[in-house]
Subunit: 414 residues, 2 copies
């Protein structure tokens, strides 16, 4: 039996999700299973590697003390440890940053490091693992996947995606019901997150898999978006159906690669060079109103996609815990520079196990929706695509509530 | 014991809610309790009084056949019978419309009419009840309240409000968690429905009642909105707290009575003369970004406020059923021109019963948030206000689901 023989640190990074704390729970569970006793510590980085550099570290063991804490944390949305969007420079460009990080590791005698995040965070994992090897510092660095966007390579899907997909699919079928009440032409355009990959937008179609109300047209960023063809499709559909619901990814672009969204003009970028997108539905709504003259409503599903823990997927939360647990096992087994990853071992009925993948195969890559999941006209998704998503949204979480409202776990960070 | 001795019709009107079908369920239940047998029919108006005028009528008894149908309908959002936004003209201006309505009543031998709706629908109830009396047509016309806005007079609160309030409160506490993850200044401005009354925006503060994460500043349409004071308040708060969440009503106006929202310029109005509002948060977001330069995100909670049945309040759904049931009792007792209304008989612990109110006291009026519920600086709500909302959001509904997604009842209308 492999054991955890030294202190560990865990951090959360990138955009929050409804399941990222369930993964943290998995790391805590894994530590408790594989360390001899709580003299071996689990430290939490506050605000990820950026906070760690500034010395912001908490003792997780002192705060997650019992099963009740664990359950509350598991159902808490958004990074409970705090997050960061910090681009770790290369060791060549900024050796002093690495010196500082490894000084901190030494200060707390940290021998295991778990970093829960998406693409950009896996880049951090890769760089720190490589640097540790180079300077011969004994630490096992393990990435743990997290992203609602589901665009991480090397894993069948990412923890956090299932909950976001469930929220989107549930909300879309409700919006379809809402939009159908009047006997007048009406078009609702919903905007869904996912800059470069259409997984979340795809999940808007999931209700159709069960014969429930679902959007009529769905546009993913994997296909070039043609405004003229879009208007024709809507016009055509309105001839046979009065109330249409359309789902578009925030990241759809035209044939020139230009984003459709209204903020594209401002070219605002974050520190990773990603354009800040918003207003795609608003732009299309104005076009439909102008061209077809019918009633149009636009809806950005917005932040609740990544934080509506009240509507999370129990299947997703459970797999998130398992992924965190497995990360600790991988570290105990002596692995480093790998990411815990979910392997779909059986399609029907769905079965999965948690394996691992070399971090070099993952960092800085984007997994887009495959052609087989998009229909031939590029305005909907296939049943194969829905079959892929279906098992990930099963089950409802049992939330702790006060007066009917969800209660969240809050770490003391002071 | 009073009995229902003739056929009845029920219609739904105005904007949909998560609880309007629960009220319809109550009418069905009440009919089954008070009619001798199902030879006495319950008809459904498809698309409200407008559809009824066009002869769109269905046999509800043939479609809601058993307890399973009843439970499914109870948890279905949006008007399952279809709705309308139809302004009934006065009998003097358009006698032919009334002739047509009463011809239809005669055609189906309808002796009881239940109309589930908000302010505008109660105007319809009033006019039809008055006309029936004038022409001596034997029909009992009963209004049944429904509005997420909670702005109906004559009832402690309206069915539908509790579910919307619960969705808003739950989502706000999740948004607060989401916004707190980064160690950088960040302002989130959420826009909440309610053109003339701030009840829904008030409910954004409910998590505070239980010590949960809640917005820092809250602006209702009952107070003049001063942009300069708003910017100062945000600037001041940012000195002691990095991540702020603000809730604003879509209907806030400046000292000149002008709406803050960006669409105010277009002066688009619906058939009731109500301005179509949208973009209040977007306008304020641009101002904060310009004046303070910090990260700003704006979120319109949008349609899910009225259709997120997956997050409905069990207390609201149960009261909605009871209100519908009571409407049938009132009709059986020989009442007409009244609205079933909820009376809060005890504050703590909350107790209520369903009474009734003369429709003349209700139609075309707006119940706004009283002064006692708004704090002295006009940027938050009082604990008294939250105590009013708290009992209305208790309990979670047990949804019928397929593959984790909510299933909805659909009437055959063809």
């Amino acid at each position: 039996m492999f054991k955890i023989n030294g202190n560990a640190a865990v951090g959360q990074s990138g955009g929050p999700t409804s399941a990222i704390n369930a993964t943290l729970c998995g790391v805590i569970r894994g530590m408790d299973e594989l360390r001899e006793n709580r003299d071996i510590k689990l430290y939490g980085m506050v605000n990820g590697i950026e906070g760690f550099l500034a010395g912001k570290v908490i003792d997780i063991d002192a705060q997650v003390c019992n099963e009740a804490d664990f359950e509350l944390l598991k159902h808490t949305p958004a990074s409970a440890l705090g997050s960061c969007r910090f681009k770790l420079p290369s060791a060549e460009a900024k050796p002093e940053v690495y010196d500082k990080i490894f000084e901190r590791f030494a200060e707390y005698d940290i021998r295991y490091f778990f970093y829960i995040g998406g693409n950009d965070s896996m880049d951090t994992v890769k760089k720190i693992a490589e640097h540790a090897e180079k300077i011969n510092y004994p630490i096992n660095v393990i990435g743990v996947p997290k992203t609602i966007d589901n665009d991480l390579e090397g894993t069948d899907h990412s923890p956090g995606f299932g909950s976001a997909a469930k929220y989107i699919a549930s909300t879309m079928t409700e919006i379809c019901a809402d939009n159908a009440v009047y006997d007048t032409e009406s078009v609702v355009i919903t905007e869904i997150m996912g800059r470069d990959a259409g997984w979340l937008t795809m999940s808007a179609a999931l209700p159709r898999f069960y014969g429930l109300g679902a959007p009529d047209l769905i546009y993913l960023p994997e296909r070039v978006f043609d405004v003229g063809r879009f208007v024709s499709s809507v016009r055509e559909r309105l001839k046979t159906k009065k109330c249409l619901v359309i789902a578009v990814s925030e990241g759809i672009r035209d044939a020139d690669g230009e984003y459709i969204c209204e903020s594209a003009g401002s070219k605002e970028k974050d520190i990773f060079g990603h354009t800040w997108l918003s207003g795609t539905a608003a732009v299309l709504g104005k076009i439909i109103k102008r061209e077809l003259g019918c009633k149009v409503r636009t809806i950005e599903l917005n932040t609740p996609q990544r934080c509506a823990a009240h509507a999370a997927s129990a299947a997703d939360l459970d797999e998130s815990v398992q992924t965190g647990r497995r990360a600790v096992c991988l570290a105990a087994e002596g692995m480093t520079g790998v990411m815990a990853s979910i392997i779909r071992t059986k399609k029907t009925p769905y079965e999965s196990e948690i394996g691992y993948m070399d971090i070099g195969m993952i960092a800085n890559k984007i997994k887009t929706v495959p052609d087989a999941y998009i229909n031939s006209t590029g305005d909907n998704v296939t049943d194969d695509g829905l079959a892929y998503i279906a098992p990930l949204v099963i089950g409802e979480p049992e939330l702790v509530r006060l007066g009917g409202l969800p209660v969240h776990f809050i770490f003391k960070k002071g």
